[in-house]
């Protein structure tokens, strides 16, 4: 008997299973169509109904509109049916599919499907013919074995909800023409008989519109609010300054919030013109300068920014400038004193010249060429501080952060090994407990030991939430590092 005859024989035996498979698939398709339709049909009905009501908000729907609504709902249901069942109706299950489901029904070693496939490939080795014969034997034994299909999870509740929604919407569609007519009548009567009601409704609409609009805030109020916030920030800053500075600030606070903000920018200018702001100005919310004093001269801040020499002359011209005020001003403004900068530069230059003069004699190296020692501190991010990177030795950023991660958090943070595609493992990961014969998952030595001390180093065991936070942090850190390296 040739392989072709074997295949025909197998097809004859697979026929019932194939037909049953087709029916099962169709049933499953219908079920899926029902599930899909229970979602799509009410949605279509609702949307078209809403559109119809939008077109005629107070009136009855016309017959054409009703027909369009019902037609759209029915079309969507038909589309679901075609989508799920159309392909199944056109394409019958293959013989291979029938063999597969029969194997799946009770044949653990795929004998039937293998036999059918090998016969189809016309394989003639001894092992192939033996496999085909075993498959045919298995098919004879199990061709009438019942089988089922892996159906999607039962969605009875979903179907029920969809049908209920469809019925409710259909009822609305049926009842809406009558209700709409009555509404039109009532509204028409009311609007015709009582003009006062129109006024009332207009007032109501106006009230609703006012309620819907956000409260308009005047611009001066916003400016006053920002000024008061600025005042609070200045007060908080002054609280941390030394007492003498606080005293100075307190004496200037008496001039009012506007004055305070002004003095924070340039105290020397502030001292030079105390009469610019009246001390009796005790308004609770500070008014911005531009609003309160539109004709006031340019502020000291503007002056200092446009002409720094002028500020210096003023400060020098006052005879004995308040050093605390200057310090405070420089702290607040974040600027450095140009005089002190120049002095420092001069000192450095002079020192360098002296050392160069000594260097020729072989006395000592240039101290100005010295480099700071590398930081060996383990920061959380592993990043170095502001020290130059040319220093000798010291752990690299990677090692630094690796040690931090492992020591501080006890987290398994794997490391990257340069020059290798395969990543290395951190020691905490490498220390895995060996698997037992019945174990399925390995445990690390640290896990097995539980919370405790290792030598003189106390083991830090963060809770799970903290571990997750740290884990995410280090993962992102490492991934960004590796991305930078690859780039």
């Amino acid at each position: 008997m040739s392989n072709t005859q074997v295949m025909q024989q197998m097809q004859a035996m697979l026929g019932p299973a194939r037909a049953r498979l087709g029916r099962l698939r169709l049933a499953r398709g219908l079920r899926e169509a029902l599930v899909l339709g229970s979602l799509v049909t009410p949605a279509t009905l609702g949307v078209t109904l809403l559109l119809g009501l939008l077109v005629r908000p107070m009136g009855a729907l016309t017959r054409w509109q009703l027909a369009m609504i019902v037609g759209a709902a029915l079309s969507s249901a038909a589309a679901c049916l075609i989508l799920k069942c159309g392909r199944l109706l056109l394409h019958r299950p293959s013989w291979q599919d029938a063999a597969e489901v029969l194997d799946g029904a009770g044949n653990p070693h795929d004998l039937i499907v293998t036999a059918y496939d090998l016969a189809g490939q016309n394989r003639n080795s001894i092992f192939a013919r033996m496999a085909v014969e075993r498959g045919v034997t298995a098919l004879k034994a199990g061709r009438n074995r019942p089988f089922g299909l892996a159906a999607p999870s039962p969605a009875g509740s979903r179907i029920g909800m969809g049908l209920l929604a469809t019925l409710l919407l259909a009822a609305v569609v049926v009842l809406l023409p009558r209700a709409g007519g009555e509404v039109v009548t009532v509204v028409g009567t009311a609007s015709a008989d009582s003009p006062a009601s129109t006024d009332a409704s207009t007032a109501l609409v106006q009230a609703q519109r006012e309620q819907a609009e956000p409260p308009s805030v005047s611009r001066p109020a916003i400016q006053a609010l920002s000024a008061s916030r600025q005042t609070k920030a200045q007060e908080a800053l002054l609280a941390v300054l030394p007492t003498s500075l606080a005293r100075t600030g307190a004496s200037q606070n008496e001039a009012g919030p506007t004055r305070q903000a002004f003095s924070a920018q340039s105290p020397s200018a502030n001292a030079a013109s105390p009469q610019e702001t009246p001390p009796s100005d005790s308004r609770p919310s500070a008014t911005p300068r531009a609003t309160a004093h539109p004709a006031s001269p340019p502020s000291a801040e503007e002056e200092s920014s446009t002409n720094p020499t002028h500020t210096r002359q003023r400060a020098g011209g006052s005879g004995a400038p308040d050093s605390e005020s200057r310090l405070k001003a420089s702290l607040l403004s974040g600027e450095t004193d140009p005089d002190s900068d120049e002095e420092n530069q001069d000192d450095l230059r002079q020192e360098k010249q002296q050392q160069r003069a000594l260097a020729g004699t072989g006395g000592q190296p240039l101290l100005s060429d010295r480099l700071g020692a590398p930081s060996r501190e383990l920061g959380l991010s592993g990043k170095k501080s502001d020290l130059p990177p040319e220093g000798r030795g010291g752990p690299s950023d990677l090692k630094r952060s690796r040690a931090t991660a492992t020591i501080l958090s006890g987290l398994p943070v794997p490391v990257h090994v340069k020059g290798m595609k395969q990543q290395g493992k951190s020691k905490s990961q490498a220390r895995a407990m060996p698997l037992g014969a019945s174990d399925t998952e390995s445990r690390s030595v640290v896990e097995a030991a539980g919370p405790g001390h290792e030598g003189h180093v106390r083991r830090y065991a963060p809770d799970e939430a903290w571990q997750a936070v740290l884990g995410r942090y280090y993962q992102n850190l490492r991934e960004s590092e590796s991305n930078q390296q690859s780039e």
Binding site: M1, L21, P93, Q96, D97, E100, G104, A105, N107, P108, H109, D110, L111, V113, T114, D117, L118, Q121, S125, I126, F127, A128, R129, M130, A131, V132, E133, T137, L149, A150, L411, P412, V413, P414, H416, V417, M420, K421, Q422, Q423, G424, K425, K427, Q429, A430, R431, A432, P434, L435, G436, A437, S438, E441, S442, G471, Y474, Q475, R478, E479, S482
Partner: protein, 341 residues
Amino acid sequence: MQESLCTPEEWKEGQAAIDAFKETFVTLRDQVRTQFIGQGALVDDLLSALFAGGHVLLEGVPGLGKTMLVRTLSQAVQLGYERIQCTPDLMPADIVGCMTLIETDHGGHQLTYQQGPVVSNFVLVDEINRATPRTQSALLEAMQESQVTVGTRTVPLPQPNIFIATQNPVEQEGTYPLPEAQIDRFMVKLLVRYPDPGDYHAIIDNTTGVTSPAIQAVVGGEKILTMRRWVRQVEISRPVLDYAVRLVVATQPEHTSLDLVKEAVALGVSPRGVQSLVVMGKVKALLDGRTSVSCKDLQSVALATLRHRVLLSYRAAAQRITQDQVVEAVLQSTPTTGHSA
């Protein structure tokens, strides 16, 4: 039906091959088990790889008998046996051999090739991850092509040929993890676990007495080659092969739909992984008395053949996701032939 498709002689011949395979396998297994107690699945997988024609990577903590298992197996087969003890200062020439100046009988000198331990049938590479990558890479050609090249000389390795390497998952300091190209050449990676508590008595009896059980060589090289040919003759149908391909493709993050693989895997299984999967499945089928591979056969060898070919991503390593977990997730999510209808 049987008479018409397969003659009785052919049927008898095929059945005899199957029986001989099973008998040889069981004989060898029993011989190994006289010395190596317990861990039946491990021994079965090791012998399956031997008959499938692949190399084996044994991984386990010290003291579990990895080296003893390999030594016992080498005694049970009549093959040339060499052992390479890997150390950080081991050089490639120590493995593959080198050209040496040798004094001849007539007082002259001759440059001759001194073969290394790799030129043998049965090679134990002990503690392979203690050798440097340059030395590890000396094994690449030998493992894949069964030959070594020294200078202009290419030396074929004697057949049958098998490399069994051991490595220790702990004590990673001072070791060199195997590169992907190296680890992919192992057909299976077998995990050596602790023996069952009930096996300890027999282990102690065997190893702490005056004498230890004698191992007899029960299988020769020719027999192993014949069995390897039988394994290759086992058939695999296209649907089952499709399942094997689906399994392997599901481990590749760029082709899979499995979220775990997308997140946890940096590099999936290579086509060489499918080859190993199918050949090991053929051995399983033959041991079960069948001449065709089924999806169940593939499932039973998937962990051993695929676990070491899955390269985990950084995130997975940090979250302690193991390669076995990935392979098991792939097995659960990939439908077999019977369930795809």
